[in-house]
């Protein structure tokens, strides 16, 4: 009898993860800028593996309430919601205003963007960012941040740099980059080490870092943090290429050489 080699064994033998990636490899990243063409603003659809996030940006515009506005800068009005359909998202309808995880994600997104966007150029205004997570296979927050960055660029809002995000984790002393849902979920009763991290790659500064699991020391934290930053740089390359391509298309469309397709894939 020939013993069949299971996929899991094969993966572990060659030191690959459960979806066949190497530990430092990120998932397939697809970016589409401006899928919602009708929006007077910007939009972006980012797919990191199977996780899909759609971001829509409107603004700068007037604040809803005069009491909200700041005299020297714009405010960011961020909302993150998860679609009840879609792979991986919660079947229960989660209210974006009250669900504590979504409110937390929105708060982080707002903070990360506040560090990136040049808010001082638009005093007393409001920039509204709405992110809809269509499918969640791990790295929901990172996909949201990447989508928000691209949408802001698509809307033409001035920013200091790209704000890219990527998760990193730890699996028995090997640092993994860009965890999917299976790797994020806790195994053997211990929560998995997941460190979503956002940075400004060209400036080399970190704007967001979260970790929930228990780590034995701060050195481990350094390692995981460094791995996350490597992942962010890889994401940045892809995003930058996508933005450049979009800009080229727009320029040539203006000259009449090409037409812009906004087909929603």
């Amino acid at each position: 009898m020939t013993t069949s080699l299971r996929r899991a064994d094969l993966l572990s033998l060659s030191n690959l993860r459960n979806d066949g990636r190497k530990p430092e490899e990120i998932r397939r990243l697809r970016v589409q800028l401006g899928p919602l063409a009708g929006e007077a603003g910007g939009s972006a659809l980012v797919e990191m593996g199977l996780t899909m996030a759609l971001a829509v940006v409107k603004g700068p515009m007037e604040c809803l309430r005069r009491s909200d506005e700041l005299p020297d800068r714009a405010i960011l009005d961020v909302k993150v919601s998860a679609a009840p359909f879609g792979f991986g998202t919660d079947r229960r309808v989660t209210n974006a205003n009250t669900d504590r995880r979504l409110v937390e994600a929105a708060h982080w997104l707002q903070k990360a963007m506040e560090a990136t966007v040049l808010l001082q150029l638009h005093p007393k205004s409001r920039i509204q960012i709405h992110v809809l997570v269509l499918a969640d296979d791990g790295g929901r927050l990172c996909a949201a941040i990447n989508a928000a960055t691209c949408a802001l660029l698509d809307a033409g809002i001035p920013m200091k740099d790209f704000c890219v995000a990527c998760t990193a984790g730890l699996d028995e002393d090997t640092t993994l980059v860009d965890l999917n849902r299976r790797e994020e979920s806790s195994s053997n009763g211990q929560p998995a080490v997941v460190l979503p991290c956002a940075m400004l790659p060209q400036r080399g500064t970190v704007v967001l870092a979260q970790c929930e699991a228990r780590l034995p020391s701060t050195d481990t934290l350094h390692r995981v943090q460094a791995a996350a930053m490597d992942g962010c740089r890889a994401v940045f390359e892809i995003l930058q290429a996508a933005v450049r391509e979009r800009a080229t298309t727009l320029l040539s469309a203006r000259k009449g050489h090409a037409s812009i397709e906004n087909a929603f894939p």
Partner: protein, 596 residues
Amino acid sequence: MPLATASTASSYISIRDDARSLSRNERAFTRECALRTKALRLDGRTSEQVRPVRLHMGRWDHGAECTVEWGNTRVTSLCTAELVRPNLDRPNEGQLVISVDLSPSASPSFRQAPPFTTGAGIAGGGQGPNYAGNNQRLQANRILRCLEKIVLTGGTLDVEALCLVPAQWVWRFHLALTILDDAGNPMDAAVMAAIASLRHYRKPHVDLDAHAGGGDDSNDPALASAPILIPSHLKEPTPLPLHHTPLAISFAFIPLEDGSNLSTAAGVVDRTSSSSSAGVVAALVDPNDREELLQNGSLTVGMNIHAEVCLLDYGGGCELPPTQLQECWKKAEGCIRQLCTMLEASLEQADKQAQADRLQKLVVQQQETRTTTTRSTTTNNNTNTELPPLPSSPYFQQSDNPGENTTAMDVDNNDDDNNVEQVQTEAEEAYRQLALDYSQGYKATKVREDTDHMKHSSQAYFNQAGKLMKTIFESAKSASATADNDQKDKGKAPTVGQPKKQGTKAATTTTTTNKTGKSSETPSKKAKGTKAATAGQLDSDEEETTQMLQSEFKAEQADPAKPDAKAKPMDVDDDDIDDLAMAISSKKKKKKKAKK
């Protein structure tokens, strides 16, 4: 982030929130101070010092609370538990419900809102995108999420250990935090309060066999099979199984470039200057409220004393070079170590205090039960004086057995199970009446209880026992009695007697874990062989005389010599051991009398 000041142009007048706005001068000055090489803050701290922290803790039968005063920030945490049916999805896990309430007392910028909770939350958010309300919401949510991560996912409280009967009964813990005063950094104070109250909490024992119990819940058919929580005076409750004790520390980030330094002439970022100054960020540990308004970003690190990180919450807001992030972690290690040691010391102290309080309560309860039985007997009989042992008295029933400690103990057990509740209510009633009865309040208690004691409990019990037993019991009783009486008669008990009393009390309490609150017999048993016993006996002699004197004033104690004679040993037990010398002398006297 400062809110806008009132706009004059429109009719829409916005209210300036003084607690949340910073004047330009204040802003500039604080920034300058923070960004110096050796930062000196407005309250005199360096950038690495934490404000002084004080903890107040309390514990009662089914809960624990902790109030943390972190500088001027005040947070209260309340930890209670109940037994519930588990969640169907997770039949082997306990539950933890955390709720955070940023009350309006904390800051004028907070509105009255339902607390943010992890349990069945109240569907809020009816106001729409209210930015001021948002701030409160976001802050409460942040504290809630950090706590959830530290306590649940960080592995502090093992929810599987909270399971009592798999798939039937689990513990559900409620951790309710209220921010009473927000003077900056409520996050760290909240985490410390929550962890301290979890550590201070003692879980009661549970009687799973509901039908055998005294019947607290057995009246309710729905809860007929519910396990009964054994009150703490019967069985000593146990601490919670916490894996480790993490604490959190927060940093405020104030970057050099605030954005206002950018050259906005062409709307182009001055690349060179910004990249060179991007690295300069001041990191202040434990910001106060002014610095919190000023900060661009904040970082919270949760660690335990062994520098195991269990939470990293860097919520962005400003750019940070990764090296500086790592530096902050190192700083956090040192601060957290300090905080952890301080927490341990406070917990120990509070625990001792709680134990002492519990002992006192137990002794008082014993006294009260004796008083109650006395009262019940008196009310039953029209004649207030003489009280022959009443068959209805539980103590008397027990005393039928000869003086074997074990049998008596067993009887005590049964008695406890059956009558504890009744006795408690009687005790409360008796105590209330006692408090209102002025003629009896003044050191009459001592005497009365002695008479009760001798009347009911130990008569047959002690008479049958050998002399040694008798003396032991008497001393034990008098020890507990003296303990109670000492509490009531302040001036009477000399300090010499106090340590003795305490010792007896402790002896009685610890030994009578199952039978406290019942009879004086148990304390006497426990005090076997202790010096206090002898002291008690000695005391009884003293009390005998006092009894005789005071019995005139009391109906119950009108009973002359006979009960007195018999009660003398009992009296000794009931009375506190005021004076060791007196006790010894009275013991000798009592022995003589007993022989007689």
